[in-house]
């Protein structure tokens, strides 16, 4: 045994080499999540509030009214003829039409919330330029801190999604491929321990998991200033438990399948509900109350809750003990079943 390394080390090394020599796998695991974060981060970035577009119907005093409204920084007013003004109101290009005169008339659709808002802002401006004095002085303070933006919600979501995807696809595909090529059968003809073969997948997942987490968290931090408010060690521990859970699930889905098509079908079936319900892209609280117990059972839900609690809220690991237990239970249970029902031939 002496000069030849341990079978578990050799098996894990083989896994790692096979993976890094697969450019597509590298793309899906490391590049794709970063591109997704970049795309969504740009699309849903926080923009300064747009100025309000309103129309002043052509007539006596229209020009004066429009220019006095225009002097407010958050209002853009244009003079339009009757027909065009109504037209733009109907199509939503302006939120409000003003008819000038001795008394000013506001024309708007009361069922549209932006028109209601426009009426208040414009009325405020009209009254003030008419000479109204505000009896109470007020100040404003703005809160757009990192932590409250969409990207802050999204990065932990993508992190969990990636841990799930790469665990399931990376392990499931490789195992089914080895079974299809009769490589599993060949290994069965050696004195190799079956548990070590399966364990080598879990170990190789841990190695890649660290890189995945570092890539996505690092990207979020550098490009969007998404901070980890809790401890990095806690984040890593949660990711390890998550990676274990999905490695187990990946193995379970691949334990019997004979074809790549077969295993893809099962994997999509397992992952699809989590894509939708577990709160990757939006909070699962949007789903009806009746769905919640089911949603909370899903391993990705627990993982995302724990990741967000550490990254965004800066909570300690102990606050996520329940979630960790649930994720680990998923992993151990599926690993155990996989080992029992695994098809080598």
């Amino acid at each position: 045994m002496t000069s030849f390394s341990h079978p578990l080390l050799q098996l894990t090394r083989a896994r790692l080499l096979e993976f890094v020599r697969e450019p597509e796998a590298l793309f899906w695991v490391f590049v794709f999540p970063v591109l997704m974060a970049l795309g969504l981060g740009i699309a849903f970035r926080n923009r300064p509030a747009e100025s309000l577009a309103v129309a002043v119907q052509d007539g006596y005093g229209a020009e004066a009214l429009a220019s006095s409204l225009d002097s407010f920084p958050n209002i853009r007013a244009n003079v339009l003829d009757v027909e065009e003004a109504r037209n733009q109101l109907r199509t939503g290009k302006v939120a409000l039409v003003l008819i000038p005169g001795d008394s000013i008339t506001y024309v708007f659709d009361p069922t549209r919330s932006e028109s209601q808002l426009a009426k208040r802002i414009v009325d405020d401006a009209v009254q003030r330029s008419g000479g109204r004095a505000d009896p109470v002085r007020v100040g404003e303070q703005y809160l757009t801190e990192p932590g409250s933006r969409y990207i802050d919600f999204l990065i932990p979501g993508l992190l969990g999604l990636n841990l799930m995807g790469s665990g399931m696809w990376g392990i499931g595909f490789n195992i089914v491929q080895a079974r299809r090529k009769k490589l599993l059968k060949r290994l069965l003809a050696t004195p190799m321990r079956k548990s070590q073969y399966l364990l080598s997948y879990v170990l190789s997942r841990f190695v890649f998991m660290v890189v995945e987490v570092a890539a996505l968290v690092g990207f979020g931090w550098l490009v969007f200033d998404v901070r980890v408010h809790g401890s990095l060690v806690d984040l890593l521990i949660v990711s390890i438990v998550g990676a274990l859970a999905f490695a187990g699930l990946g193995m379970l889905t691949a334990s019997r399948a004979k074809t790549l098509e077969g295993v893809s079908g099962i994997m999509n079936l397992v992952m699809m509900p989590m894509w939708i319900f577990s709160g990757v892209f939006f909070s699962y609280s949007r789903f009806p109350e009746a769905f919640q117990p089911f949603i909370k059972l899903l391993p990705l839900t627990s993982l995302l809750d724990a990741l967000r609690s550490i990254m965004t809220d800066g909570a300690p690991l102990s606050a996520n003990f329940g979630q960790l237990l649930a994720i680990a239970a998923w992993g151990l249970l599926s690993f155990g079943i996989a080992l029992k029902i695994f098809r080598w031939n």
């Binding site: 390394s5 050799q10 096979e18 020599r21 080895a178 090529k181 009769k182 060949r186 050696t190």
Partner: protein, 312 residues
């Protein structure tokens, strides 16, 4: 059957069915230590199923089996330490190199040569850094055998090791097996190439429908035909009535027809050919082709079953 030297494999009454298909149907055999034993038969004869039962990869439905004096189910990992296995159609991991593949397989065994030595034995030293996917068919097959040799096996199983290989690669593999045997190793080999069985095997079991229908050394089996040569002729204006009077020709043991040819099994070519020529002339039958060859294991199989080993 035992020669006292101890058997590497001994089995009796081996049976295995897949649903209603009987793959192995009460098979008995004994492989002696140090010999190369061949299972010769057409595709679907049950050779692979038999070998996989011997390798402990399949469980037989019935029968008694002993490999290297041990039984499957007792201490399988200890037994596997002593066996070298090459399976039909195994594809090794494409993106590992020759050397990495051998290092992986070597790590499963307690003793054996280094990957370095095995690469030299199978002649893949120059390909050590090449990925498995970049190897030719012959090189991949030599690597498969190298993986079987990393444990210094006492017993080597080869399941159709040369199927699909070009003649040169086939000969390289034969040399490998021959070397292994010379050093005292025991080999169990399946093949549907009669030439391979003839060249490599000390003894051959002809297998058909999951049973052994003949057993012996290649020359014994051929001798049992009672005729050592085959004369193949084709004639103009062929007519099946010819068969009757061909049987009457001096030295002809058997007449059979296939693929537009008439095959005569004969014991002495030099007596039969002149007699054949004069008979054909008397009957006014024009020859369009005549060839002769030594009887082979193929002829043995055809005479036993009426079918060919390969249906191509």
């Amino acid at each position: 059957m035992s020669n006292g030297k101890g058997a590497a494999v001994r089995c009796s009454g081996l049976k295995k069915s897949y649903g209603s298909v009987v793959a192995v149907d009460g098979l008995d055999l004994e492989v002696r230590t140090g010999e190369c034993f061949g299972l010769l038969g057409p595709n679907g004869a049950g050779k692979t199923t038999t070998v996989e039962i011997l390798e402990g990869l399949l469980e037989p439905d019935a029968g008694d089996l002993e490999v290297l004096g041990m039984r499957w189910g007792e201490d399988d990992r200890a037994l596997r330490q002593r066996l070298g296995v090459q399976l039909q159609e195994t594809e090794l991991a494409e993106k590992l190199s020759v050397e990495e593949t051998l290092e992986l397989f070597r790590s499963f065994y307690q003793q054996g040569p280094t990957p370095e030595e095995v690469m030299r034995i199978v002649g893949l030293e120059e390909k050590r850094r090449a990925w498995v996917s970049k190897l030719s068919g012959g090189q991949q097959q030599r690597l498969a055998i190298a993986c079987a040799l990393v444990c210094k096996p006492e017993l080597l199983f080869l399941d159709e090791p040369t199927t699909g290989l070009d003649p040169q690669s086939r000969r390289q593999l034969w040399d490998l097996v021959h070397d292994f045997k010379t050093k005292g190793g025991t080999v169990v080999l399946t093949t549907h190439y009669m030439e391979e069985a003839h060249r490599l095997c000390d003894r051959v079991a002809v297998v058909d429908h999951g049973r052994i229908i003949a057993l012996g050394s290649p020359s014994e089996l051929i001798a049992a035909l009672g005729a050592e040569h085959v004369v193949e002729i084709s004639v103009e204006k062929d007519d099946h009535a010819i068969d009757t009077w061909l049987r009457e020709v001096t030295g002809v043991q058997d007449v059979r027809r296939e693929r537009d040819g008439i095959f005569l099994t004969v014991s002495e070519v030099h007596r039969t050919i002149p007699a054949l020529m004069s008979t054909l002339k008397d009957r006014n039958v024009e020859l369009s082709n005549l060839t002769t060859h030594h009887a082979t294991l193929e002829d043995v199989f055809v005479s036993l079953t009426g079918r060919h080993l390969r249906d191509d």
